[in-house]
């Protein structure tokens, strides 16, 4: 079956969406990611959408769902690299992705995740590995 690859980098899962996704592929990614967060004990998910030429309400909902499920599983999601034309269109469509953290590039996204990991370790008294 066709799948979008999920890479693991330390405590972060990295997904780069490089193709236009049909709806079933998007659903599969959502399921795969949720499973991998638990399996790999990930604390962060980075979704690179810089190749995506459009995000419609279905894909937008998928992104919001991933972020929501990840949060419930104690992982932080950052969506990286949305194209300006996509952002303009998405807001006009009526989706603001209000519960989703976004970053313009990977460096910023990684820094955001590292900062949230540091907070978490502080909260756990530094015992978190």
């Amino acid at each position: 079956m066709e799948r979008i690859p999920i890479l693991k980098m330390g405590r972060v899962l990295l997904v780069t969406i490089q193709v236009d996704m049909h709806d079933r592929l998007a659903m599969t990614l959502q399921d795969d990611l949720t499973e991998r967060i638990v399996q790999d004990r990930a604390h962060g998910v980075l979704i690179d959408i810089s190749s995506l030429e459009i995000v419609d309400s279905f894909m937008g909902r998928m992104i919001a769902n991933i972020a929501g499920m990840a949060r419930v599983l104690d992982a932080e999601t950052v969506v990286v690299g949305m194209r300006p034309a996509v952002a303009i269109t998405l807001v006009e469509l009526g989706m603001t992705l209000s519960g989703v953290k976004t970053a313009l590039n990977m460096d910023t996204a990684m820094a955001m995740l590292m900062a949230s990991f540091a907070d978490k370790e502080h909260f756990n008294g530094g015992s978190q590995g």
Partner: protein, 136 residues
């Protein structure tokens, strides 16, 4: 107003919805649409094609490239022979959905187009037409 060319495409699966996005993009590019306008019309087409597939049980898209004295436009007509829409006012509202969607499809597509028309009769299907002009 002159129709420069027209073409039809089937909408039966989510692969077809993806193809609709590709072909509408090609047409928008060939009509000289800006990147933002391309993105808007492709996104609107994606929403409507998915509606045709999910709620209409499949159907087709008819694309027309239009030419007037001062501008060019892309008219997209999505038609199905599905159950039709019982309550149009409700269907156009953001957040209303009889399916699993977000209920942004129709209202969102309307906002992304310059002109929007919908015709639906219970038991006879639904036709949605959008038109997007390019800014010259």
């Amino acid at each position: 107003m002159v129709v420069l060319k027209d073409e039809s495409a089937p909408i039966r699966s989510s692969i077809d919805v993806m193809r609709v996005r590709q072909i509408v993009r090609e047409w928008a590019v060939s009509l000289g649409f800006s990147l933002v306008d391309q993105t808007k019309v492709v996104t609107a087409a994606s929403e409507l094609a998915r509606n045709t597939m999910v709620y209409g049980g499949g159907g087709e898209l008819r694309m027309e490239a239009l030419n007037s004295d001062t501008r060019r436009g892309l008219r997209l007509t999505f038609s199905d022979q599905g159950p039709g829409i019982a309550d149009m006012e409700q269907a156009m509202k953001d957040g209303f959905s009889t399916g699993a969607g977000l209920g942004l499809g129709l209202g969102g597509a309307k906002r992304l187009a310059n002109e929007f028309a919908i015709d639906s009769r219970p038991g006879q299907g639904t036709t949605v037409t959008i038109l997007r002009w390019n800014k010259l």
